[in-house]
């Protein structure tokens, strides 16, 4: 059972690696330097990078940015989402604005963000938080709207105070939805992170990719891509585990 569970996902990965190998052989025939894109070269580069300190520093910087961006998005998105879910007035007056802003790729704010916030970490934090705030806000609002009416009725039948209702019913009741929002937000942040780090910063995985290109270190570049994919997978897995833990789903 366990074997079969692993076999199918593994076969997909192996197939992709084979396609990668075939593609790089073909590409090397056209442009000889592309030989360093090949899986074996990449694996060798990855091993070297994992043993060195440089890659880990870039990873740490990137993860810190994710944490700050997500934290800011949570601080803004959760209260705004609760407000949207509770107040029809607030919801009606802000929904068009939010839907409008949500559909603008956060990266299009980049020039403006750099102009206003200067180069460095600040514009990256801004872009990440701006990307992540919408799924958190919208999921929180949906969570409030979907609260089981019977829970509120139960609280009222216990003559619960307003504080008791919020602390014991509403906040825990929407936590699952907030965690869903966090999971979506992590996905978006991780995608926005790399291009956001390609401008005006001197560390992070996005910077590392550009740097590898400039050094013509293509196997390092491919290794960085693998690291980005793997870390993203881990982050998503962590968010999903958190969600499951909270709901105690079997």
């Amino acid at each position: 059972m366990m074997g079969a569970n692993l076999l199918l996902p593994l076969s997909g990965l192996v197939l992709a690696a084979l396609a990668w190998a075939a593609g790089s052989v073909w590409l090397a025939g056209v442009t000889p330097i592309a030989a360093s894109f090949a899986p074996l070269e990449t694996a060798r580069a990855l091993l070297a990078l994992l043993q060195g300190a440089e890659l880990w520093e870039h990873v740490a910087v990137s993860l810190e940015r994710v944490a700050v961006g997500l934290g800011v998005a949570l601080l803004l998105g959760t209260p705004l989402g609760v407000l949207t879910g509770l107040s029809p007035l607030f919801s009606r007056s802000t929904t068009p604005l939010f839907q409008f802003a949500r559909m603008i790729s956060p990266l299009s704010w980049m020039p403006l963000a750099v102009m206003v916030l200067g180069v460095g970490n600040a514009p990256v934090y801004f872009l990440l938080a701006f990307a992540a705030v919408w799924p958190i806000l919208l999921n929180t609002a949906a969570g409030v709207a979907q609260l089981d009416k019977n829970w509120l009725l139960l609280a009222r039948s216990l003559s619960a105070t307003r504080r008791e209702t919020i602390v014991h019913v509403i906040l825990p009741g929407i936590t699952a939805q907030i965690l869903t929002g966090v999971r979506l937000a992590i996905g978006i942040i991780w995608i926005v992170l790399v291009p956001a780090e390609m401008l005006g910063v001197s560390a992070g995985l996005g910077y590392f990719i550009l740097d590898a290109r400039d050094r013509l270190a293509y196997s390092d570049l491919m290794a960085a891509i693998l690291v980005i994919g793997f870390l993203g997978y881990l982050l998503d897995h962590a968010a999903r585990t958190l969600h499951k833990r909270w709901l105690h789903a079997a």
Binding site: D148, L154, A155, T161, H168, L247
Partner: protein
């Protein structure tokens, strides 16, 4: 008073002269501008009595239950609970819904004990609360599953937990709004006899809102038929068929026909 100690599950029919737990007089209720849902409605429930409030969907029986439980304010009339006018839900009343509506982030024991420590509940020590929770869980046959989470419970077990949550409040009166209609037939039959058993052992009265004639006959000491527009109580039957009532098909059948006849007249 309401000792949760297990006693033999005898069919103790409520004595006709037992004092009332709940007494509603001249109740009217209206949603906003729409006409009254019900008006001039009076109902009393005696101690330890199981009353089934029977009616078709949309007849206002769930609204009536909310008014009686103190969750909605009547436009006219008053509800007295244990001889005092009820302004807010009484701590000695408890609710069971059609859905179990357990809190998924709490385990079974915490769900059963939910709200017992709220500010407006009678003050009890932790040990006493734990004792009540334990007794309630045992009463619905879920001892040993205290640590399970709602996502791990079947529909029937979830509804048992909801019943235990109501029992943990040591209610004088249990309000149940179609509590078994979402369950499959076999689980429903189990839950019906569990409800009767538990209500008798815990010396509780119950108001069971249902649209299921058979359920009303199998469970209730008294059946009240609600209908009309605005809603009113059309008919009342005292069910004196001995339990288990499945063993008395002729009497059950006769009552069933009488109720069906009354329903036909009402529509």
């Amino acid at each position: 008073m309401n000792s949760p100690l297990p006693e033999p599950a005898l069919a103790i029919a409520a004595a006709a002269d037992a004092p009332a737990v709940l007494e509603a007089r001249g109740l009217s209720y209206a949603h906003g501008a729409a006409g009254p849902v019900f008006s001039h409605l009076s109902l009393s429930i005696r101690r330890r009595e199981i009353v089934a409030l029977l009616g078709g969907s949309g007849c206002g029986k769930s609204t009536l239950l909310r008014v009686l439980a103190g969750l909605a304010r009547p436009a006219k009339g008053e509800v007295r609970f244990l001889d005092t006018v009820q302004a807010a839900p009484h701590p000695r009343s408890a609710l069971v819904f059609q859905q179990a509506s357990l809190l998924p982030w709490l385990n079974l024991a915490d769900n059963v004990g939910f709200g017992l420590d709220f500010a407006h509940q009678p003050q009890t020590g932790k040990a006493a609360r734990d004792e009540r929770i334990k007794a309630a869980i045992a009463a619905v046959g879920l001892a040993g599953r205290e640590g399970a989470y709602p996502a791990q419970l079947s529909g029937g077990m979830a509804q048992r937990t909801a019943l235990a949550r109501a029992l943990a409040r040591q209610p004088e009166l249990l309000f149940a709004d179609e509590p078994f209609s979402a369950l499959d037939a076999i689980t429903r039959a189990e839950m019906q006899s569990l409800l009767v058993d538990v209500v008798h052992r815990w010396h509780t009265a119950a108001l069971l809102v249902t649209h299921d004639i058979d359920e009303a006959i199998l469970v209730a000491d008294r059946i009240v038929l609600m209908g009309g527009r605005p809603g009113r109580l059309l008919h009342e039957w005292t069910v004196d068929i001995p339990r288990n009532r499945e063993d008395h098909p002729e009497a059950v059948g006769a009552l069933r026909l009488a109720i069906l006849g009354a329903l036909r007249h009402a529509s």
